[in-house]
Amino acid sequence: MTARNRPLSPHLQIYRPQLTSLLSITHRATGIALVAGAFLLVWWIAALVRGPAPFALFQHFIASFLGRLLLFGWTWALFYHLANGIRHLSWDAGWGYELESTYASGWFVVAASVVLTLVAWSVGYVMLGGHG
């Protein structure tokens, strides 16, 4: 079979990265990251079922530097995938296919994901009463 020798399109070595293609692969990457993050949701539920001690262990992990870093990453990934997912749904509805609209909505998604992540974490720290 000669299928393996056929050129690939888009050929990543010569394909100049641009906002649209970067946002596209980021959508997939955040989707995979969120699937991994779903295990955290399962652990949270399991810890709640098993009682206060296992739940305290879960919270201890989340409060650690690594836990916060992962949760921060997942928060951004969630907001990014959500915002860009809505962008995809609007394309499915036939809206926003013009090159200009695609770039405008793309930058809006980037801004929205960052702003929403920072807002969620700011409120979270307020909830901790400054003891975080």
Binding site: G31, V35, V49, R50, G85, I86, Y125
Partner: protein
Amino acid sequence: MSGMRTPLGRVRGLGSAKGGVEHWWMQRLTAVALVPLTLWFVYSMVALTGAEHASVVNWFARSRNAVLMILLVVATFHHGQLGVQVVIDDYVHSERTKLAAIIIVKFAAVLLAAGSIFGIVRIAFGVIG
């Protein structure tokens, strides 16, 4: 293309394969469901930041929260496994490995969703510890 098709065929919109849109459609349907569910979930998790075991259990005891959590779990794992399947379809080229991977992903999604739902019900009913 549409000129050759019967009015019924055009309305059904299934094409000659009589299928193939289920994956695409379920991915969109779960995506639409996840928009409000995710916003509600993040809002709730932020509100529960640092909350102790008893407070979170009380939160689950409210019917609205338990039901929305179950819906979130169902939509999340359904959407997640559909997405992972696309990634496997794209990058795994050995037919045997691809099939095995897809089976594992789908079984794992159902297992984790079922376990999570049972867990949510137990927390909501206070059958814990």
